[in-house]
């Protein structure tokens, strides 16, 4: 139990995927102009990352290791993630149209989100068990959501403020992200 708590605090705050591990930067910079879309992206990523951690664990421990195929890890994981995203999309469409409307547009983008493949690889590397893998995947995704939503609300404010012209767009966004990550570094003392 203690162990799980450590994983949660670690992945959400201390080793935040975006702010200190640099995973999932593309959607972080690309889909963060509005809080609403950032929230949608965050939820879609959380959904997929939790399921992906689960299946990646099964593939790793019941298929790749018994067959001595660990070198196929990258290909196997990315295929599982691609298929999973597709299935989630189809299932969402059938089950809940409103949820599909909200998350649908972000789903295709998730296949190439390095946070999803990253968490699957990290789980395998740390040799987490099934529960730890799913908890780590979910909390890393919550950390991602936290970062992208905060970043989007800062950017909404920046859009209406008077920025110097040369700071407009990506340079300004990156420097904002840098200052945010400085704030997140404050959490690093939590786990000692």
């Amino acid at each position: 139990m203690n162990n799980l708590l450590l994983i949660i605090v670690g992945s959400v705050l201390v080793n935040n995927f975006v702010m200190s591990q640099f995973l999932g930067i593309c959607p972080f910079l690309g889909v963060s102009k509005k809080v609403e879309t950032a929230m949608g992206m965050g939820m879609a990523v959380t959904f997929v990352m939790a399921i992906a951690s689960f299946f990646a664990y099964l593939i790793q421990n019941y298929l790749l290791i018994p067959l001595n195929l660990e070198y196929m890890q990258t290909i196997a994981f990315i295929l599982v993630i691609a298929v999973l995203v597709q299935i989630v999309e189809i299932a969402l469409k059938k089950i809940s149209n409103s949820l599909y409307q909200a998350l649908g547009v972000y789903l295709p983008l998730i296949t190439t989100n390095c946070a999803v493949l990253g968490v699957a690889l990290l789980n395998a590397r740390e040799e987490y068990n099934l529960i730890e893998s799913v908890v780590n995947g979910t909390s890393a995704a919550i950390g991602f959501t936290l970062a992208i939503v905060i970043f989007a609300s800062i950017r909404e404010r920046l859009a209406v403020s008077n920025m110097p012209k040369w700071m407009d767009g990506f340079p300004g966004a990156l420097i904002t992200a840098g200052l945010m990550s400085l704030a997140f570094q404050g959490f690093s003392g939590l786990l000692h």
Binding site: L121, W166, P171
Partner: protein, 212 residues
């Protein structure tokens, strides 16, 4: 499809559409491993390898792969070459493998490779696709090494592991931290954009001067 000269395709990746400074693709490895110049070169060349071969295979197969399953096909091709380079680096340069860590398998989801497969290799013959891969890959390597060198020099006072700054120089540890990564990248993009814009302005002024 209009004909493009190979040298133009090659330079396009290095300057006008530099993946890091102009297209802003492949940001995760860019920020993640740019703490030492040697990492920058290693990561850049590994990505170039994957980019060249995946471009080659995808453009060779472009008439066979059906439009609808192109994305999964790209994924399989790219993942194959990433696995190859991963195993090569592990076998011959274990030090690089441990310092790049998880970012080598993550080349699979590097947006540059997908973007070039989709935007270039799937529409062009083999030779230009290979050249495009080399150009984009070198542009990425160049940008990555530049960022990594700046961060290594300011953050540790060293360059490729050798002491560069005088001993009295106090290294700025923040530059090596994630915060420094974001801020230095933002600053470099700012500078590169300013340079490219001023070159373009001068060019267009010259062109107008000649007409008038």
């Amino acid at each position: 499809m209009k004909k493009q000269s190979l040298s133009k395709v090659f330079m396009n990746g290095i300057l006008n559409e530099n993946p890091i400074f102009r297209l802003l693709l492949g940001m995760c490895p860019t920020l993640g491993i740019s703490t030492a110049a040697s990492n920058g070169i290693g990561m850049g060349l590994a990505t170039t390898f994957v980019l060249v071969f995946s471009n080659m295979v995808i453009s060779a197969l472009r008439n066979i792969i059906p439009e609808k399953v192109r994305i999964p096909s790209f994924v399989v091709v790219i993942a194959t070459f990433v696995t190859i380079i991963d195993l090569i680096i592990k076998a011959f340069i274990p030090a690089l493998s441990s310092s790049l860590g998880i970012y080598i398998p993550l080349i699979v989801v590097n947006c540059i490779i997908f973007a070039r497969a989709e935007a270039f290799a799937f529409k062009n013959p083999v030779l230009p696709s290979i050249v495009d891969g080399i150009g984009m890959g070198l542009g990425f390597t160049l940008g990555l090494t530049l960022l990594a060198s700046v961060r290594e020099i300011l953050g540790t006072g060293k360059f490729f592991g050798m002491q560069l700054m005088p001993a009295s120089y106090q290294p700025m540890a923040v530059i090596i931290s994630p915060t420094g990564g974001f801020i230095m990248l933002g600053t470099l993009i700012l500078i590169v954009n300013a340079i490219v814009n001023s070159i373009q302005k001068r060019k267009s002024m010259k062109a107008r001067g000649e007409i008038a």
